[in-house]
Amino acid sequence: MSAVAERKRLEDSLAADRTVYEPHRIGLPPMGPYIRQVWDRRHFAFELARTSLRSQHFNTALGQLWLIANPLLLGFVYFVLVDIVRSGSRGPEFLAHLMLGLFAYRLVSMSVKDGSKSVVRGGRLILNTAFPRSLLPLASVITALIRFLPMLGVYAVMHAVAGLPVGPHLLWALPIFAILIVFASGAAMLAAAAQVYFRDLGNLLPYFLRIWLYLSPVLYYAEEVPDRLRPILALNPLYPMLGALSDVVNLGENPTPGYMLWGLAWAVAAFVVGALVFISREREFAVRL
């Protein structure tokens, strides 16, 4: 019995450092070991996010000020624009809604934008090192998330100035942000894989992202959408997510279950599709770069 156990142990220890490479050019690698590898090398993703933030001067006071000022100014421009169109009927609570929506939207759009470049940019590393490539777009999501955090502080000030309700219902924002992050990860992986095959997507993406912003309930409340347009706009994954966020934070209500479930479904679907497309293709990236 002990001899068998000993032999089993030895075999396990040998198997642990033995790697077999077999053809699966397009197809999924064994998922268990893949996920374990992603977890083992998570520090790489964090370090990559950290260095890319440093190259944006996130670690200096002035650099951070600039990164905050940029979306803030953009928000004010949108506010003035919408206010003019609406002939000056909008108050500070709408400004708070617009800012929060814009910051949350940028969390997703920057994940996608930076993520789309992540694989093509990492060409040299991909050609020389074997590691789970999905860490590259995931690092982009981490970068976007760290850049988003100071915006929460900016928003908190606006929230207070606008005199919006504060209470335990605000905790609903946490699952909503979790949904947004899961969705952003899936979208970033999809964009990263697509960019390898179509290098000109980078030119198209800014327009796509701009239109996506206009189709999301950021410059208006989700409830304001005319009934005849609602079925179309509801196809936008960000519609339920940002709608629920505004309901919770801006109106001080609990989110409608419909928004939460619809948003969750989108997030899970985007993550699964993004991960499957990316991981099943990633071994081909070294040839394509």
Binding site: R7, D17, Q37, I126, N128, A130, D200
Partner: protein
């Protein structure tokens, strides 16, 4: 419990390559774009070209062997290295590797030229699966060996190709891998650094590790390797003792004894 291979039989090789073929399917266009793809719709143009980089290559490398790989440009040497490193997937056949692999391929470390040498070393090491503690312990050795001084904290954009190669070589040899893959790296830097890297290579070859070296410097490869394989056009032409294989390869290249390897010193 199972009737798998006996433990001894598994243990005597570090790398096993069985019937390995790698075929690239590259597009003729320089950069794949959506625009060109759309322009091609309905025209049924064949734009995919197949390149058979390796054709049914089979060999094993025992533990502790230093194996040299020679062949002309485009013979499949780099493809073989990348497949062993797990970077390129086999098209058919299989590769088994026993132990942790460190690669030093032609392009070297450092993928983001905006980052400093130090940051690139840390990122590359983490991607290769080392822990932060391991990297911290190794960092000083890497820095000292590369002798780049204050340039370690400069963006790699400002590095000369020699500095680049020195850092890459230093990273690869100081990682203490079970298997070291070295591609065309023996001839980086100035003559002094080349001498130093050759000495380091000799030291490593003397230790127990398994090493694969690709080089065009037949003189170095003869001095360092236990055995040599010769690849041509993706096929394994010959494997054997360094003098025999180099002799055959030289005859194939039709170059004289006098000027071969003259690029070393």
């Amino acid at each position: 419990m199972t009737d798998a291979l006996p433990v001894e039989a598994r243990d005597d090789w570090a790398i096993s390559v069985e019937d390995l073929s790698v075929t690239y399917r590259t597009t003729v266009e320089r950069k794949p774009t959506l625009r060109k793809r759309l322009a091609r719709l309905g025209r049924r143009q064949r734009i995919v070209r197949e390149i058979k980089a390796l054709r049914e290559v089979t060999f094993e490398v025992p533990h502790g062997m230093v194996l040299g790989i020679v062949g002309v440009n485009g013979a499949g040497k780099s493809t073989l290295m990348r497949t062993v490193a797990g970077i390129l997937p086999p098209t058919s056949g299989r590769v088994q590797v026993h132990g942790r692999v460190s690669t030093l391929l032609a392009l070297g470390v450092g993928f983001n030229s905006d980052l400093s040498g130090r940051e690139n070393v840390v990122l590359g090491g983490l991607a290769a699966g080392l822990s932060r503690e391991q990297l911290e312990a190794k960092y000083d050795e890497i820095k000292d060996f590369a002798e780049l001084g204050p340039a370690m904290d400069m963006p790699m954009r400002r590095y000369s190709s020699g500095m680049y190669g020195r850092l890459a070589f230093s990273v690869a040899v100081n990682m203490e891998p079970d298997i070291l893959l070295i591609d065309e790296a023996l001839s980086v830097g100035d003559p002094r650094f080349r001498r130093k890297s050759f000495d380091k290579m000799r030291e490593l070859c003397g230790q127990a590790g398994t090493i694969l070296i690709v080089s065009h410097s037949l003189k170095n490869i003869r001095k360092l390797c236990d055995e040599i394989i010769w690849l041509h056009d993706g096929q394994l032409m010959m494997r054997g003792e360094p003098p025999e294989v180099i002799e055959a390869y030289r005859r194939f290249l039709d170059i004289g004894e006098s000027d071969a390897g003259g690029d070393d010193d």
